[in-house]
């Protein structure tokens, strides 16, 4: 078994990062922030896996090794020994995006929560394994979990307002992540959080930094949440229905932003949606879930153009019948 990252290995990077933040070019967006070189033996390098040349030198194995590996995960409800999720498996490598599609109750959110170690009780993982960056999460102590969240795996959800403190300015809430997770000083954290707000393409990051959540629209709030989620340079971002409540043009802006982060920083994405088209737009691989079962799984183009399961075909048919797809010329649908 891969050894657990030691506490010292976890706490070392913040110092390096705080120096790094000083020398950090303020114009470059935060996720591009070059991290201190990985210790060659480190089983779980901190910070974003970037596609920069310096990292490519680390060898192809680092880029192709899954940052998130889910093996036949089953989730149960102890009452009556009910199994809710009947075995989900996937591998996610840096810079890739995986989509999970399903209606409410399909088990897609429970699967994500299991990967994040935040399954609501009494649900529990009854079988299978989740490895984050090579570390089986079943072996993690609560303290190790706390260290992992934000720095290695992070998430944004549907209702951004409920994840922000309404009585604190949003900038302060991002700065807090930076101070706790990266050990930055107040001043460094402030500068960096403005940079993060700029990197999620908020038009006036300085202004937004000093605003309260109620002063921002849903799309702006979701950007703030994304900025907070990527503040500590995670390698995996789970976006669970993160654009569902937003207007379509705002949704597209957020999806473009995620795509952009993925390209620039090698962030690995798990995109969860009830809408196959949202997932198709962003992801390399798609899982279709229904009733706790993965009914279809494969490369996006294959799932879209050669769906095997009737439910997948139904999802596609709904789009073709009622979505904008029916107005698109067939040759465009290649």
């Amino acid at each position: 078994m891969t050894p657990l990252p030691s506490k010292t290995a976890r706490t070392a990077p913040p110092d390096a990062d705080s120096h790094d933040a000083d020398s950090h070019d303020p114009r470059s967006p935060a996720p591009d922030d070059p991290q201190a070189p990985h210790a060659p033996h480190s089983p779980a390098p901190d910070g974003p896996a970037t596609t920069h040349a310096s990292h490519a030198a680390a060898g192809a194995t680092a880029a192709t090794r899954p940052v998130l590996s889910v093996r036949d995960v089953r989730i149960g409800h102890p009452a009556g020994d009910r199994e809710i999720v009947h075995g989900v498996s996937f591998d996610l490598t840096p810079g890739k995006a995986l989509g999970i599609v399903g209606e409410s109750g399909s088990g897609k959110t429970l699967t994500c929560r299991a990967a994040l170690g935040i399954l609501p009780p009494p649900f529990e993982v009854t079988a299978g394994t989740v490895e984050i960056d090579g570390t089986p999460i079943a072996e993690l102590t609560p303290r190790q979990w706390t260290e992992l969240r934000g720095t290695t795996i992070s998430a944004v959800f549907q209702d951004p307002a409920s994840y922000l403190n309404p009585s604190l300015r949003v900038g302060a809430q991002i700065a807090e992540v930076l101070r706790v997770k990266k050990g930055l000083t107040r001043r460094e954290a402030r500068a960096r959080s403005v940079e993060l707000l700029r990197s999620v393409r908020l038009r006036d990051p300085e202004l937004v930094h000093g605003q309260y959540p109620y002063e921002l629209s849903g799309g702006m709030l979701q950007r703030v949440l994304i900025a907070a989620a990527i503040a500590a340079g995670p390698r995996i971002l789970i976006a669970d229905e993160a654009t569902t409540a937003l207007d379509v043009t705002v949704q597209a802006e957020i999806l473009d932003l995620l795509e952009d982060l993925r390209e620039r920083t090698g962030l690995a994405l798990v995109v969860v949606s009830h809408d196959l088209a949202v997932v198709a737009q962003l992801c390399d691989e798609v899982l279709v879930m229904r009733g706790g079962e993965v009914v279809e799984q494969g490369p996006t183009s294959q799932v879209l153009h050669n769906p095997q399961h009737p439910y997948t075909r139904l999802l596609i048919a709904e789009h073709e019948q009622y979505g904008l797809d029916r107005f698109l010329a067939p040759e465009e649908a290649a």
């Binding site: 209606e103 409410s104 038009r203 629209s217 849903g218 207007d247 379509v248 043009t249 705002v250 949704q251 597209a252 802006e253 473009d256 795509e259 009830h274 809408d275 196959l276 088209a277 949202v278 198709a280 737009q281 996006t300 183009s301 879209l304 999802l315 596609i316 709904e318 789009h319 073709e320 019948q321 009622y322 979505g323 904008l324 797809d325 029916r326 107005f327 698109l328 465009e332 649908a333």
Partner: protein, 284 residues
């Protein structure tokens, strides 16, 4: 253009003109202008989709057509009645007449939680003086038109699923044989199976000759149902045309952005660059 002042005559014959005729409508909330110079006419039996996102003024438009906000300028003619200067009592009489009906996003808003489904459906008819038996028969007929079974008649709205409730709300809007139904985000709160079902029902209504104004933020839902599509952006109507033209040959940059933003199963990386360009254009 229907600017003729119609004296309100309950039960009077409907005119042959548009069932909804909005001309040069301005609505202001204090110093903020919610709608500016909006004109929109809906012919009998026509289904018009009004697309707008948050802050576009689409809710204000619905509220104006409902008599819930007063225009600062322009006129609104509903079912041949110039309602621009209507007071509360005149609106009440007009609503009672049942010529125009409404369906909201949240059916719990239009259904009384303490009334059974049967009472909810018969109430608008009983108010008009329709005998109870006839009202009950009509309630049953419309329940089946929205594909619900009669065993739901004795239930309360709280005992139904969201999709069933919305179908009851649609049935309730139809029992008085309206000439116009305004639907404000009727499918937004529903999952895809229920959404498809409501859209199917709306398509059937179209062939039944009822004019529909389908207000939504979702071009995809509307495009499959509407004859015509109008696009509201920042309080102005920036596009109004046949559904196929608006979707196929959009003229305004915002309409193009909407189209390029709507998730489709066709993945085209070029769309992203186009979206960026359109955003830049719109924000200047």
């Amino acid at each position: 253009m229907t600017t003729t002042q119609h004296p309100h005559t309950p039960g009077g014959p409907p005119t042959a003109g548009p069932v909804l005729d909005i001309t040069g409508l301005d609505v202001r909330y204090g110093r903020r202008t919610a709608l500016r110079g909006v004109s929109l006419a809906v012919a009998p039996g026509e289904t018009v989709g009004v697309i707008g996102e948050t802050g576009s003024g689409k809710s204000t438009l619905a509220r104006a057509a409902l008599g819930l906000v007063s225009p600062s300028a322009g006129s609104i003619v509903v079912g041949g009645h110039d309602v621009t200067g209507y007071g509360r009592r005149q609106w009440r009489d007009l609503r009672r007449e049942g010529v125009v009906q409404y369906v909201f996003q949240d059916p719990l808003r239009s259904l009384d939680p303490d009334l059974t489904i049967e009472d909810s459906l018969t109430e608008p008819l009983l108010v008009q003086g329709v005998p109870r038996e006839e009202a009950a028969a009509r309630a049953r007929a419309f329940l089946s038109r929205v594909r619900l079974t009669e065993d739901l008649l004795g239930r309360l709205p709280g005992e139904l699923s969201g999709g069933q409730r919305q179908r009851v709300a649609v049935a309730r809007a139809l029992v008085t044989d309206p000439r116009l139904v305004i639907l404000d985000e009727p499918v937004s709160a529903l999952d895809s199976a229920n959404r498809v079902q409501i859209l199917e029902i709306l398509k059937e209504l179209r062939s039944a000759g009822v004019a529909l104004v389908f207000i939504s933020h979702d071009l995809g839902s509307v495009a499959g149902v509407a004859d015509r599509i109008a696009v509201l952006y920042r309080g102005e109507l920036v596009e109004d045309g046949a559904a196929a033209d608006v979707v196929g040959r959009p003229r305004h940059p915002y309409t193009r952005l909407l189209l390029r933003s709507a998730p489709t199963l066709r993945s085209a990386p070029a769309d992203r660059a186009e979206r960026e360009a359109l955003r830049a254009l719109l924000h200047n």
